[in-house]
């Protein structure tokens, strides 16, 4: 029975990590539903982007207050989690503060963790106030009702709880160390928690229970957090890295040229092709142009959808959204993720995708949203993790126009004009040089 805690600990750890790995596998499978796109070039520039934007958060600090607080939370959270290594070893082998042999360095680490924990706690409180007290508008757009709003708050509460557990754990440990209790070797420095310790009753059984409880809750909490990620916008703490690595490196104004179209246009312009020739026997069916569902998007666009932090920086700079149009680039990303999740669940259930009479277009994203976009790239520029909502909008417009001929009437007129007289207005091509004489 002596090993019972070790066994329980190992079981919790295996289950927690096991579930997490399962979820990651699902995400990878879903992302792979997207069409192929080559992003294996220019590894150096990509690594640099990842280092600067994901690790260095260079785009976050464009809004300094949120940026600096975010760096604190992010750095603090990661550094404090070094502590988890020790917790795991202690848990598996029944040791206590196994790394304390490092002496002064160990004290330095624990001390740093404590100070960071307080900073994280304070930042999280400010984040909460920005959302709930200041009510910064980008957190209150209509796509932020229900789960997205709760999700953001859950994470804030979660971090407050984890940081508190860590500090109370240290405080009780410190008290036990001071009381020379067996097993609680004197190790670490406690710049913050020794204050908390003064509020604790100096009762050994109580302190022992408190120390054990907070220790267990801390590690269980971290495992729950890890498994919560999959359901949350907080996936970005992992996916920001691949997402910035695989992001578009071309000038933002350059839209891709659809290859399937190039082939057809070449044929049409080639004087040697016979316009009445029957299609070849084994010709592959013509490719679908543009996107009406997640399968038609590229895997990078799907990765974008899972990475979106729902911060709304894109939407807050979108000229269409600012002026009250339906379009919100953040909602484009959230809806893409929702549809992808729905498709994923369908596959979980049926082993393969069973048509469900739904698609991204109309069931999630409306043409009205798509047609409001000015292709200004403000959203792409603003996104702290290099997501490209515009590329999805354009791919869906392509479907509307080329597969459904469903452009707004005025745009059809514009396109007819280009076809007939080489200008978007009804002018005679032969008058193109008239300005020279005027």
């Amino acid at each position: 029975m002596h090993y019972l805690p070790n066994i329980i600990f190992a079981t919790i750890l295996v289950v927690g990590i096991g579930f997490f790995v399962q979820n990651i596998k699902k995400i990878i499978r879903n992302i792979k539903l997207g069409k192929s796109i080559n992003r294996s070039d220019n590894a150096q520039a990509r690594l640099k982007n990842m280092a600067l934007i994901a690790l260095g958060q260079s785009k976050m600090v464009k809004r300094p207050v949120a940026g600096i607080l975010h760096i604190l939370v992010y750095a603090g959270f990661i550094i404090i989690n070094i502590e988890v290594i020790e917790i795991i070893i202690d848990g598996l082998f029944g040791t206590h503060r196994i790394l304390s042999f490092a002496g002064g360095f160990y004290s330095f680490l624990i001390g740093t963790f404590e100070i960071l924990a307080v900073l994280v706690f304070a930042s999280v409180i400010i984040f909460w106030m920005r959302r709930m007290v200041l009510q910064i508008p980008r957190f209150w757009n209509k796509e932020m009702k229900g789960w997205p709003k709760n999700d953001a708050l859950n994470i804030l509460y979660f971090e407050m709880i984890l940081m508190s557990l860590f500090l109370v754990m240290n405080a009780s440990d410190y008290s036990l160390q001071q009381l020379d209790v067996d097993h609680y070797i004197k190790a670490g420095s406690f710049p913050v928690s020794h204050f908390i310790a003064t509020w604790l009753p100096q009762n050994i059984p109580f302190l022992e229970i408190l120390e054990r409880t907070t220790w267990w809750l801390h590690i269980v909490g971290i495992l729950i957090f890890l498994n919560y990620l999959y359901y949350s916008k907080h996936l970005h703490i992992l996916l920001a890295f691949p997402n910035t690595y695989f992001a578009n490196l071309n000038p933002k104004g350059k839209f891709n040229n659809l290859e399937a179209v190039t082939n057809e246009v070449k044929l049409m312009l080639d004087p040697n092709t016979d316009p009445y020739a029957a299609p070849a026997e084994n010709a592959t069916p013509p490719e679908k142009f543009g996107a009406s569902d997640v399968f038609d998007l590229s895997w990078v666009q799907l990765l974008n959808a899972y990475t979106c932090t729902e911060c709304g920086r894109c939407t807050s700079v979108c000229p269409a959204n600012i002026t009250g149009k339906e379009l919100s680039p953040r909602a484009i990303m959230m809806k893409t993720r929702d549809r992808l999740e729905e498709v994923g669940k369908n596959i979980n259930l049926n082993k393969e995708f069973k048509p469900d009479n739904k698609q991204l277009l109309n069931d999630y994203i409306l043409p009205e949203e798509l047609w409001a976009c000015t292709s200004c790239n403000a959203c792409v520029e603003a996104c702290p993790v290099n997501i490209d909502p515009l590329s999805i909008i354009i791919d869906m417009r392509r479907y509307l126009v080329m597969e459904q001929s469903a452009a707004p009437q005025e745009l059809n007129m514009m396109m007819t004009n280009i076809e007939n007289n080489g200008a978007p207005w009804q002018f005679n091509q032969m008058d193109r040089l008239n300005w020279r004489e005027e």
Partner: protein
């Protein structure tokens, strides 16, 4: 105006230094034609050896592509590329950021490889090479704010050339709160120019014009015929057309020297 076409040049066995791509707005729109002519006057004053395509030019395909009609875009692109390649064009300058972006970024994959410059870049180069002098003239001391076109700024990261030109006019350059990479669109891009806006609570061009006017300018400078239309409409809507002018950078430079 004495503006040669590529065909006329070719007939004389000549190859100009640069092709001026006029664009549909610059060719047909009454307001934009003034920008075209102002730019031509500067080219002539600087002795730039240039030509236009005239009736052989056709829409770059930008509005079709942004509207989602990749077919029409590529038809336009390939037709234009055939013409440009037949004339062995090497360098292109245009006063339209949409043509600029499309020719520069989207034509190469389709077989059109040229050095493409926006007219503000080109004018900046003329200035640096000592071929162009800019003086303040009637604009000296005026308050000017510059509206960054999306397809020049964010799309191609050109923020400084237009500003350096404006500053040469010995004016006070004012920045709007949203400028450079944070600039707000005028509302015309992505084929919006050719349709009514979706329903909302405000027009984008009004939002942007209000921001421009809040800098208390004498002049709002633009570098795009479409932005020019939008901001001009905005200024009219705010009944400020008496006190605030909307002018392209080419017009500013040409007018300052009374060209």
């Amino acid at each position: 105006m004495n503006v040669p076409t590529m065909a006329e040049m070719m007939a004389q066995g000549k190859q100009p230094e640069v092709l001026f791509w006029v664009g549909c707005a610059g060719s047909f729109d009454d307001r934009a034609k003034k920008i075209t002519k102002a730019f031509v006057k500067i080219l002539q004053k600087s002795n730039v050896d240039f030509a236009v395509l005239g009736t052989e030019e056709s829409c770059s395909g930008d509005p079709a592509k942004r509207a989602g009609n990749e077919f029409l875009f590529q038809m336009q692109a390939m037709t234009n590329i055939q013409v440009l390649n037949a004339y062995e064009v090497k360098t292109i300058v245009t006063a339209c950021p949409h043509c600029f972006n499309t020719l520069k970024n989207e034509y190469p994959e389709l077989g059109g490889n040229y050095q493409v410059m926006h007219h503000t870049e080109f004018l900046k180069k003329l200035l640096d090479d000592g071929r162009l002098t800019i003086e303040g003239g009637q604009f000296k001391g005026k308050r000017i704010t510059f509206h960054d076109p999306c397809y020049l700024g964010r799309a191609n990261k050109i923020y400084e050339a237009p500003r350096e030109l404006i500053q040469k006019l010995e004016v006070e350059l004012l920045e709007m709160k949203r400028c450079k990479s944070n600039a707000l669109c005028c509302g015309a891009g992505g084929a919006q120019m050719f349709k009514e806006a979706e329903k909302g609570k405000k027009e984008i061009f009004i939002e942007r014009t209000e921001e421009a006017l809040s800098t208390q300018p004498d002049i709002v400078a633009t570098g795009c015929p479409f932005c020019n239309t939008m901001i001009t409409d905005g200024v009219k809507n705010k009944e400020k057309e008496g006190s605030v002018k909307v002018l392209d950078i080419a017009e500013l430079i040409a007018n300052a020297s009374d060209l």
